[in-house]
């Protein structure tokens, strides 16, 4: 034994020459009763660690027992059995405590507490409402049953029956008694069958039956084997009585016609009788009985499988001898603790019991350990004369309460023993049951484990998910400034015709080129709002929001969503498409999020890039044949959609009126507006080479041949601002393109090469430029397209590397002209404003007309872009 016992002395009170074996009894909550065999019973409070009261009885006290509800204490005295209620004790103790005196209160127990006037009672036991007394008459033991009323503090008991057992004269006893004059207390315990219902008296109390060392639930089979079928059928508790003459007797209490019978004879005074679980099955009842004799004989009584004649179960009595003398003992789940007076020892019953079988089974492996186990281990605590039932403290150590020969109350804490006992054998009926129990227990544990595992797994998943989200967030936040974002959107516009109605669809593609996965919970939000909007919208930007929650977007993949941008003739261009990624926390937590009200709308919104869809994107380019048709009969569309034609013509008329002023309204041929952009052809060529070199190997040649055509092509097909037009398939290698704008008006885009130069300047000074002219009857279309073209050319300029100032003169020339024009226009505007301000002869119509003229002039003379 490696560990040592911790002995803690709680209190000390001297006691000398006793007339009976001392006894320590736990009771009344944390109180401990100490009966030393003298007239006095000490009440020790384990909580306060002090002696709280001394009960002074009229004669030597031989035994103590408590009622099941721990309300009454019965004490066997020379002159009879006395009964003290805990309330009485408490009230007296408390009143004495109120005096603040530290000395314990002394209570004199007078004859008014006398319950049973039977003399010489040695031992007591309470079974339900029956009080048993055991006393010795000349040559016999008298076991008397008294009916003990519930509130028995005052009233006396009625004797029910009495049995006498012949005293087996024993030399040992006579000798000893002669020498020391100590009366041995017979051991009385109550045994119930494990399947019997608890005693009625204790079941009425709120708590479950407290199994003290004196009330044992025994395994049903062993119970039947030892005490008979009748006792089991009658569900009667059985009194087991270990007498100082060595007899182990039993008596079923509640069985008609039962008599005390001898179960076994130890041939030495019985010191202790108890029950032990031995097998660590949590079935709640003991598997074997243990009786210990004074000279060290230990008898284990248990069920033996397979009797001598191949017949079922039998009760097996296994005797062993340990070095005695045994002064007192107590039993634990599987250990017997006993004191020899000079040492406290522990005997492992489980190994001792199954030792023989164990050796037969696997002799070579286990015989060594068995041999080691079978001998009791010393706990090195001496002079213990009484032990209370063992308890387990929260740490799992066994705690014994002992009384030393000098009158010290000691708490003995035993070190933990390693659990390395092997498999024990069990009766087959038990095996089935216990296997079932074990399996269900395993099932429960498995369920719990898998539940916990899934919990952990989901939390891990959430954490991983959150990690991804954070990564993406950082990436996006960091990438807002830089143009090259790893996660970005680009889009494609496409006209589609559905139900005779043209509409422009935007296909938005989210590219995830980051190393992270966009997982469940992310939403792509696309907000579309026009850059400018008609005043009819009421000052507010008529923005439209589309959200596309998606499941997962792994790294390197892209998500394509389609959204209707505008129906024909409704929307106003250019439009801004701003994309953002939204992550909602609720999706992260799943169902748990439902518990948090606040979480449900908490989202992270991370802006992606912004796209612009302008007029050029929204153009519906007609094929050459269509264009021909359109040129001839612009308003005579196919017969099938006459209504559409009608509506269109109406619109055109109206808009024509608005644009052209009142006088143009009646004209079939409307006023054409135009605007143009001029770009240095060299510039275009360079740009296109740069561009096509990384796209199309054949492109450059073609582009070089007719620059104006390719410029037009570029304008229409270039994915400007991340947006492409959808009609890339058909080659538009034409210099004149007819198309329809989103508002339904036809537009004509013409590109040609023009030599720009001052007439006065020499030929070499002149520059080849490409002029793209926009013509349409709709001023909105012209403006929009012009704007769009200019924006593109701007980017083109950014892209092309800076040139030498070879064209400086041209540039200055252009600039001068432009300046002149601008000055002229400024004058005009000022005039209009002056006349408008004074309201001199000019109607508002006239003023708008003249403003329009200025505007047209601004448009018409393009700035040469070099």
């Amino acid at each position: 034994m490696e560990g040592r016992c911790a002995v803690e002395t709680w209190a000390e009170f001297g006691f000398s020459g006793t007339s009976c074996t001392p006894k320590v009894q736990l009771g009344f909550g944390t109180d401990v009763f100490i009966c030393t065999g003298s007239d006095e019973v000490y009440v020790f409070s384990a909580k306060e660690r002090k002696l709280t009261a001394v009960l002074q009885f009229p004669g030597p006290v031989s035994d103590l027992v408590e009622s099941h509800d721990k309300q009454v204490l019965f004490a066997a005295c020379m002159s009879g059995v006395y009964c003290v209620s805990s309330q009485f004790l408490l009230s007296r103790v408390q009143s004495s405590l109120a005096d603040a005196s530290s000395s314990p209160s002394e209570l004199k127990i007078s004859s008014e507490f006398l319950l049973v006037p039977e003399e010489g009672v040695l031992s007591l036991l309470l079974v339900g409402s029956v009080l048993l007394t055991l006393s010795q008459r000349d040559t016999s033991w008298i076991l008397t049953l008294y009916n003990c009323p519930k509130q028995s503090a005052s009233s006396s008991c009625e004797s029910l029956t009495s049995f006498s057992l012949p005293l087996v004269s024993s030399v040992v006893q006579d000798d000893d008694e002669g020498k020391t004059g100590v009366r041995r207390r017979p051991v009385l315990i109550c045994v119930c069958s494990g399947d019997a219902t608890p005693l009625p008296s204790s079941s009425t109390s709120s708590s479950e039956v407290t199994l003290t060392d004196r009330h044992i639930r025994l395994e049903p089979v062993l119970f039947k084997l030892l005490f008979g079928v009748d006792a089991a059928l009658a569900k009667s508790p059985v009194i087991l009585c270990g007498l100082p003459d060595g007899c182990l007797c039993f008596l079923p209490v509640r069985l008609a016609g039962s008599r005390p019978r001898v179960l076994h004879n130890l041939e030495q005074p019985v010191v202790f009788v108890g029950a032990s679980a031995v097998m660590k099955m949590g079935l709640g009842h003991a598997q074997c009985l243990v009786a210990v004799g004074e000279l060290g004989r230990v008898v284990l009584i248990k069920t033996d499988k397979g009797g001598p004649e191949g017949g079922g179960n039998t009760a097996g009595f296994t005797e062993r001898c340990v070095p005695g003398p045994v002064v007192c003992g107590c039993v634990d789940k599987n250990c017997l603790y006993y004191s020899t007076g000079s040492d406290l020892l522990r005997l492992d019953l489980s190994e001792g019991l199954f030792g023989q079988e164990g050796q037969e089974r696997n002799e070579e492996t286990s015989s060594k350990t068995d041999a080691a186990r079978q001998s009791p281990t010393s706990l090195s605590v001496c002079r213990v004369v009484a032990l209370a039932e063992p308890a387990h403290n929260p740490a799992g150590e066994v705690e014994l309460l002992g009384l030393s020969v000098r009158g010290q109350i000691q708490r003995i804490t035993l070190p933990l023993e390693k659990e390395d006992t092997g498999l024990s054998k069990m009766p087959s009926t038990q095996v089935g049951r216990s296997v079932r129990d074990l399996l269900s227990a395993i099932g429960d544990v498995c369920d719990r484990a898998s539940m916990l595992k899934t919990g952990i797994k989901s939390k891990n998943q959430i954490l991983k998910h959150l990690n991804q989200v954070l990564n993406i967030s950082f990436l996006l936040v960091a990438g807002t400034n830089s143009e090259e974002n790893l996660i970005r959107c680009h889009a494609t516009t496409k006209w589609s015709r559905l139900l005779q109605k043209d509409s422009l669809n935007l296909t938005c593609v989210l590219d995830n080129s980051s190393p992270y996965v966009l997982e469940h919970g992310w939403t792509l939000s696309v907000t579309v709002f026009p850059l400018s909007y008609p005043p009819s919208a009421g000052g507010e930007s008529p923005s439209t929001n589309f959200s596309f929650p998606f499941h997962s977007l792994p790294a390197g993949e892209s998500l394509e969503v389609s959204l209707p941008l505008a129906a024909a003739g409704v929307a106003s261009f250019p439009m801004t498409v701003s994309c953002s990624l939204i992550f909602s926390l609720s999706s992260l937590l799943g169902e748990e999020a439902a518990n948090f009200k606040g979480l449900q709308c908490s989202c992270i919104s991370l802006p992606l890039n912004t796209l612009t869809v302008d007029w050029l994107h929204a153009l519906q380019v007609s094929s050459p044949i269509d264009a021909q048709k359109m040129a001839t009969s612009q308003c005579n569309n196919t017969a099938t959609d006459t209504i559409q034609t009608f509506l269109n013509s109406r619109r055109i008329k109206c808009s024509g009126r608005g644009e052209g002023g009142g006088e143009n309204a009646s004209k079939p041929k409307r006023e054409q507006f135009s605007a143009s952009v001029r770009v240095l052809s060299e510039l275009v060529r360079d740009m296109l080479v740069v561009k096509s070199s990384d796209e199309d190997p054949q492109g450059p040649k073609l582009a070089l041949q007719n620059v104006h055509v390719s410029l037009l092509e570029w304008l229409l097909s270039e994915g400007f601002g991340g947006v492409r037009t959808g009609h890339q398939g058909d080659k538009m290698s034409r210099s004149v393109i007819h198309a329809r704008g989103p508002n339904g008006h036809t537009v004509k885009l013409t590109a040609k090469e023009v030599n720009v130069g001052e007439e006065s300047v020499g030929k070499e000074e002149s520059l080849t430029t490409v002029e793209v002219q926009v013509e349409s009857s709709s001023i909105a279309a012209v403006c929009g397209l012009h704007h769009a073209m200019l924006r593109r050319v701007q980017t083109l300029l950014q892209r092309v590397p800076e040139r030498a100032a070879s064209t400086k003169s041209i540039r200055s020339l252009g600039l001068r002209r432009a300046l002149q024009r601008a000055e002229h226009l400024l004058q005009q505007i000022q005039q209009i404003r002056v006349s408008g301000a004074f309201g001199v002869g000019a109607s508002t119509g006239q003023m708008t007309r003249s403003l329009l003229a200025v505007y047209r002039e601004l448009r018409e003379n393009p700035l040469l872009i070099i």
């Binding site: 089991a232 059928l233 008596l251 079923p252 008609a256 016609g257 008599r259 017949g311 079922g312």
Partner: protein, 621 residues
């Protein structure tokens, strides 16, 4: 000087004694209200005080004639209290000490140790002294002690003197009374019990004890004459009832049952608590075969046993010495003994079921089981002992089945099976114990016996369950249960030792075993016949008839199955044989659950007769 001191001491002693006697009598008067237990406590206390007093007197006062009367009165009181508390040896010791002192007072030589002779000389020597009456009182006590110790022979020898005591005492006490009337403060101490009352009690008890003794020795007529004498004496009701009861017993043993019944009736009329008379009359009815009267008597006995005062009669008013202390001879106790309420209830239930009052019997059985499970059963010794609890369960089950409550029956059987099943051996050797070897084998044999019984109980439980299923016409389940029973029974190997007629002995395990075999095989055969498995049915029924030839159901059904198989001649023979058996055999002694079930499918005997008659002509033809 010394003399003065003595007299002073004695005076104080006597005054003390007065006080105690007074207290005692005070207590006695109020005794009715006080419980028996407290009364006894009080007696104990008085006794201990008396003891102290007498010790003081005998230790401190020399044996002088002057104080003899006071001293002897104290001794009388002490002894009487001791005797009342059954502390006979103590009383005896005190008495002998007192007589020794008397001898010292009179100054005679030590006299013979033979008790009658001793007392004769003692009485003679104190003949003229003042304390003559006190010595006579002591003789009364001696008489009481002899009686209590059942020394009837001594009493017999001394009977005349003892019986004449009453006359002498009554005259003397008359004088005493006069003197006590003269002055209350006179120093004649009081007695805790009037000696005349004591003598009356002793006389009656002596007659009763002697009567019982003679009856047990077979001298019925002599006993009867003594008891007749006793019945005319003044005595408490209880004792009078005893005399009538014992007379009845004498008459019964003289084979005059009707007169005995008269006496028993008189006894019950005198004291309704005399349940032993009820019990004896019940035995006579049983002997006479009057079942209905027996059942009536049993019912009466049971209800009177349940009365609270029935077993423990309260202490009769003034009588300190209860007759129960004086009447303790074994022969008398045997005659006065009554079985416990539970065994009465059991025989009542059994009789009711056996004699057609099934529903009543079932109720009694259920009462019995409830009583056995109640909390207030505390190992009261039963004489005769009740059957073992499983047997009671099985009997109750059989009764329930007879009352057509198969579900309840099955529940009870389940309980029995559940209790015993784990303990059953794999195989068992049954040896019918020979008379000589029984004692030697002792404990081992008892254990084997218990195992055998357990097996038989389980078998019987299965059998009853089979019957239940048969009753419910659930043939498949019935076959299952009968088979279980049979499988269990074949585990027993019978080792034949003695004669072959062991089987015939009723109540032996072998008999029960064979009976169970027969019944379970018959049950299974009948169940098979119901499901048209005729071959199996015939096999089982044949086996059943081998095991228990007197099984009526098996015989009849065997014939029926043979008939159905077309073996009509054999069938007819089988039926005839069975009917011949029915006339002979009786199954009285068997337990209820070993009786043939009344609930299964039945065959009408008259119909069978018809069939045989129809068969007749073809036979002759």
């Amino acid at each position: 000087m010394c003399q003065y001191w003595w007299s002073f001491t004695l005076c104080t002693v006597v005054t003390f004694q007065f006080a105690f006697t007074f207290l005692f009598q005070q207590q006695e008067r109020g005794a009715e209200a006080v419980s028996h237990n407290q009364n006894q406590t009080h007696q104990r206390w008085c006794l201990s005080e008396f003891h102290k007093l007498s010790r003081k007197i005998q230790g401190g006062i020399p044996p002088l004639v002057d104080h003899a009367q006071s001293e002897l009165t104290v001794v009388y009181n002490t002894c009487l209290c001791s005797a009342a508390l059954s502390q006979l040896s103590e009383a005896e010791l005190l008495l002998s000490q007192a007589t020794e002192r008397v001898i010292q007072m009179t100054g005679d030589d030590p006299i013979s140790s033979d008790p009658p002779a001793f007392w004769r000389t003692l009485l003679k020597s104190v003949g003229n002294t003042t304390f003559n009456s006190s010595v006579q009182h002591l003789l009364c006590l001696q008489w009481a002690l002899w009686l209590a110790k059942c020394q009837l022979k001594t009493i017999q020898e001394f009977q005349d003197e003892l019986f004449s005591l009453s006359e002498t005492l009554s005259t003397e006490l008359g004088d005493d009374k006069r003197s006590s009337e003269r002055g209350k403060s006179s120093d004649i101490p009081l007695l805790v019990m009037d000696p005349r009352r004591l003598i009356e009690l002793l006389q009656t008890c002596t007659f009763i004890a002697q009567g019982a003794e003679r009856l047990s020795e077979g001298q019925s007529s002599e006993a009867l004459s003594g008891l007749q004498k006793a019945s005319s004496l003044p005595a408490p009701r209880m004792l009078l009832a005893y005399t009538h009861h014992l007379s009845g017993c004498c008459l019964a043993s003289m084979s005059c049952p009707q007169m005995a019944l008269q006496c028993y009736r008189k006894a019950v009329e005198t004291d309704s608590r005399c349940v032993c008379a009820l019990y004896q009359s019940l035995l006579i009815y049983r002997e006479l075969g009057n079942t209905q009267a027996e059942i009536q008597a049993l019912r009466l006995l049971h209800s009177s046993l349940l009365l609270p005062s029935a077993t423990e009669p309260p202490l009769a008013g003034a009588a300190l010495l209860s007759p129960s202390v004086l009447l303790c001879s074994q022969s008398l106790n045997r005659l006065l003994s009554v079985p416990s309420a539970l065994s009465v209830l059991h025989s009542l239930a059994q009789k009711c079921v056996l004699y057609g009052r099934v529903s009543e019997g079932v109720e009694y059985y259920l009462d019995l089981l409830a009583a056995l499970h109640s909390d207030d059963q505390h190992g009261v010794h039963e004489d005769p002992p009740l059957p073992r609890l499983p047997e009671l369960y099985l009997e109750a089950g059989a009764a329930l089945l007879t009352a057509r409550r198969p579900a309840d029956c099955m529940a009870l059987c389940d309980e029995v099976v559940g209790t015993t099943l784990e303990l059953l051996p794999e195989k068992l050797v049954l040896e019918e114990p020979e008379e000589t070897s029984e004692i030697e084998t002792g404990a081992v044999g008892a254990e084997g016996e218990d195992r055998m019984r357990m097996l038989l109980w389980t078998g019987a439980a299965y059998l009853l369950q089979g019957h239940c299923h048969t009753h419910l016409r659930d043939w498949k389940q019935a076959v299952t249960h009968y088979t279980r029973c049979i499988n269990l029974l074949v585990k027993v190997h019978f080792k034949k030792k003695g004669d072959a007629d062991m089987v015939g002995k009723q109540g032996t395990n072998l008999c029960i075993l064979q009976r169970l075999k027969g019944l379970s095989l018959a049950g299974r055969g009948i169940s098979f016949s119901q499901t048209d498995q005729l071959r199996e049915a015939l096999r089982d029924l044949h086996l059943s008839l081998q095991a228990a030839p007197d099984c009526v159901g098996a015989g009849l059904w065997c014939g029926e199955v043979l008939w159905r198989l077309g073996r009509r001649q054999e069938a007819a023979a089988c039926w005839e044989k069975t009917w011949s058996f029915t006339a002979q055999s009786s199954v009285e002694g068997l337990r209820l659950y070993l009786q043939e079930p009344q609930t299964g499918p039945l065959l009408d005997s008259t119909e069978l007769q018809h069939r045989i008659q129809e068969l007749g002509p073809t036979l002759s033809a």
